[in-house]
Amino acid sequence: MRKGRKAAGILTAGLLAFALAACGSGGSKSGGAGDHSAAKESSGKKVTIELAISKSSQDSAFIQQDLLDEFEKQTNIKVNLQLIPAEQTTTVLQTKLAVEEAPDIIQYNLASATTDLNLERNFEILDDEPWASRLLNKDVLSAYGHIYSFHVSQDTGMQGVVYNKDIFEELGLSIPNNYEEFLAVCEKIKESGTTPVFMPYKDNWAINIWPAAAFADFVSKTDPTFFDELNNNKRKWSDIPEFQTFLQQQYDIYKMGYTNTDVLSDSYDMAVGKFLNKEVAMMFMGDWLIEGVAQQDPNMRLGVFPIPAIDNPSLGASPLGGQLFIPKTAKHIEEAKKFLDFMASKEIAQQIVDSKGYVSNFSDVTTPALPEYKQEIVDLYITPKRTVLTTDAYMLVDRNELYRMLQDQFAGGMTPEELLKAWDEKFNQLMTDKQVPGF
């Protein structure tokens, strides 16, 4: 008897769960049906397009629900989002492109798309789209002489040391101009009880911010032909002894106790919280982090200064990321193009540019008053030409193995010298595989 009642209890619980779920889906279904009938009045049959995006890009301007809803209302085209786990994004997209079952729109970084996704073979050229003529800066959307991607912004990300201005002012600190000054700043901040630098190096790409800017900054000032020769197989990464120094610098900052203690366990998604709680003062990152923090708390005053690896450093500039692409094999190319038209329309583009504080890439869309930190970047670095493209802009191959090696350095498995040697070897193999001339 008791047993029977118990079973009945579980059964009801199960049924309840089922009923709840059925309710939920019933609700959404009837909602869909409602849309459908409304749509019938406006135009023909409803089309659904798929937009694939890495889950780490979830803050993208193009997938805000209100914009998608508005698009659906105007065109009767529904956009289905596919958030792909970050670690699998490349593999999943590569596979789907290879078997010609690609989603209709993909958000990806243009620079990585050329190395990872075989741009020329897989994606539509967008030169003749109606919005193309209104573009101010085609370069940030182009490769091999054609427009392959779409964005409303032309704002290349800046990479350096993101820092909390309030903490700097309270402690009377000024922006460090070389490595020694930077260590002094760290020491002062540490004495005040705040962690000077946050290193979320479980995400291994974050370790590359410091060297990517430092390497490029150094060779642009002393050895400007280096990257061309590197990509012709005439030079090697290990040829430049200073690279070892830069790698050692970042490691020493950790070893001297100026960082969070658990650098290999902490991940990038914790960064915003760390800044909001004022637990940390600085981080080597792109200025997109500042945007992320501002969205949570507009009163936070953050800025960015150059990676202080050499004297009078320049601010790292990375190529624009987060563009939209249309695969050649997409099932709904026309609808996907309509989506781009919609995002490019004057009102919508203006709305996105305003809300995100972008530098507009359309002649008829005005760039809003820039946030303080961005105006500062323009005044202090862009206008006086104190910026330098990071190594990312020059690398033609998949960089994941480099990131893993950098992580290995922090785990104590590699010295900077060994790292550069190992990366030379891997770099050579990847370039050979790609059949780059000279390898």
Binding site: E87, Q94, N204, T261, D262, S265, D408, A411, G413
Partner: protein
């Protein structure tokens, strides 16, 4: 009698054979073909390149490390899951009041999705995480470890998590084995004055052999094919310290080197076959002997 054998018509095998062959076997073997080509994401044509991919595998330090890690993981988990599994089964075969509850508890982790395991254990195993915090409060500072970030122990940590999750499943098979041992053996041994340990080594272990065999085979196959535990806990890191064969395949695919990826896949298949098939044959032969 000959006719009855024919009555067992192979028609009933057809559906399973069809589904299994079409959706698993044919693609798998087609995959093996690609392991002898230079198939790449960024090239339209592919060429037959013989054993080149396999040569690459054995000249790549990371791949060799991955092979070593896979072996370590397999050995540790085979031992761990089976020893813990037998111990739990023997204990939970006794007449304990909370026996059913305990069985359910020990079995339950094996029904959790590996995603759940990854998300729960990441904060627990951080250097400043729950586990070390517990050790510190108990005054056992020396036991605190960088569980997932120390290259020297990370593989063992992942193996421990795997044992944590699956030992209960092995326990269920061992329980099944124990329950098929007749009580008479034990009664006879008791009359002969045998102690518990003696009963365990003289009766339980030998009669448990079929279950041991199956469990060793299943855990060995699972251990050599390990992927998701590593994927959700470390992604192969720090650096490449916890790469296993399963994750290295993903790395090769990520670099666009699909021919190499399938070659590693093929190698894994051969390796597992070489270790598992003798066990299976041994097992089936014993059956015939009985």
């Amino acid at each position: 009698m000959k006719t009855t054998k024919q009555l067992y018509s192979y028609y009933l095998v057809l559906p399973a054979l069809l589904i299994y062959s079409v959706f698993f076997v044919i693609p798998a073997f087609a995959g093996f073909y690609y392991s002898f080509t230079d198939w790449r994401m960024d090239r339209l044509t592919l060429e037959f390149i013989g054993w080149n991919n396999f040569r690459t595998i054995f000249s790549d330090k990371t791949l060799i490390l991955a092979l070593k890690n896979t072996l370590i993981f397999a050995v540790v988990t085979v031992l761990g899951k089976n020893l813990v599994g037998i111990a739990l089964a023997v204990a939970l075969n006794m007449k304990l009041r909370t026996r059913n509850l305990l069985r359910a508890i020990f079995y339950s982790p094996s029904i959790l999705s590996i995603l759940v395991i990854g998300i729960i254990f990441t904060p627990i195993l951080r250097t400043e995480g729950t586990l070390n915090h517990v050790f510190d409060t108990l005054g056992l500072h020396s036991l605190s470890q960088a569980w997932l970030t120390n290259p020297n122990i990370v593989v063992f940590t992942i193996a421990m998590i795997s044992i944590w999750q699956h030992a209960g499943f092995q326990m269920a098979i061992y329980l099944a084995g124990l329950q098929s041992i007749s009580n008479e053996y034990y009664e006879a041994a008791t009359i002969d004055g045998a102690g518990s340990w003696k009963k365990f080594t003289n009766i339980t272990l030998p009669l448990l052999l079929p279950a041991i065999n199956i469990n060793v085979m299943l855990t060995l196959i699972g251990g050599l094919k390990v992927f998701s535990e590593v994927f959700v806990l470390t992604g192969g890191g720090p650096g490449n310290a916890s790469q296993v064969v399963g994750t290295i395949i993903l790395r090769a695919f990520g670099e666009g080197n699909w021919g190499l990826g399938t070659a590693i896949n093929t190698l894994l298949f051969v390796a597992v076959t070489i270790t598992a098939i003798p066990l299976l044959i041994f097992m089936r032969r014993k059956e015939v002997a009985e």
